[in-house]
C-alpha cells in the first residue's frame, strides 16, 4: 500500500498529462482491436448476439471471388500507383533543386494537388474529366481521336484512380526537396573534378544519400495506398464498379460491414488487411538493408 502511494506521488503528474491519450488508447484502441479480433471469428449483424463460428469467415473469404478481385485491384493500385508517384516526386524534386529562382512558388504549385487530392470535390472532378464527354475526350477529339468513357470501362477505370494518386506527387516531393538540400555540395564538386557526369552523380551520390528518404516515402505511400477509400467510392458511386474493377479492399470492407452489416466478416477482412500491410512493410524493411544507405 505504502509503495503504491509512493509510486503515485512520483508519477501522478506524468500520468495526469498522459490521461487523455491513455483513455483513448484503451477505449478506442486496445478494446476495439481485441473486439475486432474476436468478432472476426463470429457471425454478427449488430441486431442479434454474435455467434462463434471459428474460422468460417476466413474460409469464406478465401473462397470469395469478389474478395480476390478486390485484392487484385488494390495490389495493382498500390504497386503501380505508389512507385509511379514517388518517381515523379523525385524527378521533379531533382529538377527544382538546381538552385533555380522561384523555387517556393513552383513548390507551392506542385503541392496544390496533394492538398486537394483527398477531397470529395476532386473525386467528383475526376469522374467528369475521364467521363465519356469529359475533358480528356474533348482534348483527344481535337486530334480526331474518339476516346471511350474511361470511368465506365472496366479496363481503364482503375487507371484513372492511379493517375489521381500520381497527380498528388507534391507531398513526397516536398520531403525529397528537404532531403536533397542536405546532400553536401562539395560531394558534387569533387565528383565534377573527377570527371563524373550529371547522370553518374545522380546514381552514385544523390540516390544513395537520399535512400533513407525514399525508404520513408515508400513505406508511407504504400500504407496510405492500401487504405485509400474516398476516390474509389466517389468515382464508382460507392459500388466499386464497373464490374468491380475499382473495388478497393477498403470499399469492399465498407460494403460488407456497413451496408450488409456482416460485421464478423468485415472484421476478418480488416485483420487480413492489417496482416497484409504489416507483411509488406516488413518486406520493405528487410529489403532496405540492401538498398538504404545510412551515413556513418
Amino acid at each position: 500500500m505504502a509503495s503504491l502511494k509512493k509510486m503515485w506521488r512520483n508519477n501522478w503528474v506524468g500520468y495526469l498529462f498522459l490521461a487523455p491519450w491513455l483513455i483513448g488508447f484503451f477505449f478506442l484502441g486496445i478494446i476495439p482491436i481485441g473486439s475486432s479480433l474476436y468478432l472476426s471469428f463470429t457471425s454478427y449483424d449488430m441486431f442479434t448476439p454474435a455467434e462463434w463460428t471459428g474460422l468460417t469467415n476466413y474460409a469464406e473469404i478465401f473462397a470469395d471471388k469478389k474478395w480476390w478481385n478486390s485484392v487484385k485491384v488494390t495490389l495493382v493500385y498500390v504497386f503501380i500507383g505508389a512507385p509511379l508517384q514517388l518517381t515523379f516526386a523525385l524527378a521533379v524534386a531533382v529538377l527544382l533543386n538546381r538552385g533555380i529562382k522561384g523555387l517556393r512558388v513552383y513548390r507551392a504549385i506542385y503541392y496544390v494537388p496533394s492538398l486537394f487530392g483527398g477531397s470529395v470535390a476532386v473525386a467528383i472532378l475526376w469522374r467528369q474529366i475521364f467521363g465519356g464527354d469529359g475533358l480528356i475526350n474533348q482534348f483527344l477529339s481535337v486530334f480526331g481521336i474518339k476516346g471511350t468513357n474511361w470511368i465506365s470501362s472496366p479496363d481503364t477505370a482503375i487507371f484513372t484512380l492511379i493517375i489521381l494518386t500520381v497527380w498528388q506527387f507534391g507531398a513526397p516531393m516536398v520531403i525529397f526537396l528537404a532531403g536533397l538540400k542536405q546532400v553536401p555540395n562539395d560531394l558534387y564538386e569533387a565528383a565534377t573534378i573527377d570527371g563524373a557526369g550529371k547522370i553518374k552523380q545522380f546514381f552514385k551520390i544523390t540516390l544513395p544519400l537520399i535512400s533513407p528518404i525514399i525508404f520513408f516515402n515508400l513505406v508511407m505511400q504504400i500504407i496510405n495506398a492500401f487504405q485509400a477509400f474516398t476516390p474509389a467510392y466517389i468515382v464508382s458511386g460507392g459500388s466499386g464498379g464497373p464490374l468491380d474493377s475499382t473495388l478497393f479492399y477498403t470499399l469492399y470492407l465498407y460494403q460488407k460491414g456497413f451496408t450488409q452489416f456482416q460485421m464478423g466478416y468485415a472484421s476478418a477482412l480488416a485483420w487480413i488487411l492489417l496482416i497484409a500491410i504489416a507483411f509488406v512493410t516488413a518486406l520493405i524493411f528487410l529489403s532496405s538493408k540492401k538498398w538504404v544507405y545510412y551515413q556513418e
Binding site: F17, A19, P32, F116, Q128, T230, A266
Partner: protein, 300 residues
Amino acid sequence: METNKVSEPYRENINIHYMVNKKKIKPKGIVLHLFIIAVGILMLYPLLWMISSSFKPDSEIFKNISFLPTVFTFENYVIGWAGLSGVSFGKFFANTFFLVAVAIIGTVISCSMAAYAFARLEFAYKKIWFAIMLTTMMLPFHVTVIPQYIIFNKLDWVNTYLPLTIPKFLAGDGFFIFLMVQFIRTIPRELDEAAKMDGCGPIRLYSTLIMPLALPALITTMIFTFIWTWNDFFSQLLYIGDINLYTVALGLRMFLDAMGQNSWGAMFAMSTVSLIPLFALFIFFQRYLIEGITAGGVKG
C-alpha cells in the same frame, strides 16, 4: 551579313549587361523554367478548368472546349448554394467549420498534453508507452472502425457529432504527438530550470512556458487537423445520416447522387467553394505546412 556584322558588338554588350545583372538566367535556365511552368500548368489544368466551368451555363460545359466561358454566369453558384431538400450549402459549411473548430481544440489540447509528458516529465513505463504510441501510428484504422462503430452505436451516438469529435480529445493521432515531442525537445532545458527556481510547478510550466514556445508545432498541428477534418469522408459517411448534420463532403456526395449528370455546373461551383478554405489556409500558412510534411521524413 551586313546587319549581322553591325549588330555583333551590340549583342556582346547586351550579353555582358545580361550576365552582370542577372547572373542566374542563362538560356538553359530559361528552358528549365519554361518546362517547369508548363508541367505546373498541366497539373493545375483540371482545377482551373473546374473553376472556369463553374461559371459556364450547363449547356456549354461539354460543348465548348474553350477555357473561357462565352457566357459568364453566377447562376451555378446560386443553384448550388440553395442545396437540396431545403437545406442550403451554407448549413453544410457551418457544420464543417464547427467540426473543424472542435477537432482543432481537442487535438491541440490532448496531443500537447501527451507530448509534454513524453518530452519533459518522468514517470514509470514512459519508454514503453512512447513505443506503443509510435506503433499505433502505423495501425490501419479499419481494424478499429467496426468495434468503434458498435460502441458508438450502443452509446446512441450515431447521427450525432460525438463520434467525430470526442476521439479528438483523446489524442488519437500519434503523428501530432510525435511532431510536438520532437519540437519540445528542442526547447532548452535551462528555461525549465529557471522557471522551476521561480517556483513554477509542472502544470504551470506546461501552460505558461512550453505551450507558448511550442507554438509553431501547435500551428502545424492545427493546419493538418483542419485539412484532414475538412477532407475526411469515411467517418462522416459512417456516422452522419441526418441531412441537417451533413458536412461539405457529404453534401457534395449527395449532390452527385441526386443531380447526377444534369447539373455539373452547380456541382463544380460547390466543389470550387469547398476547396477555398483549404487554399486560403495553404496561402497563409504554407511555411507551417511544409514543415509539418518534412518533419516526419527528414532526420526522422
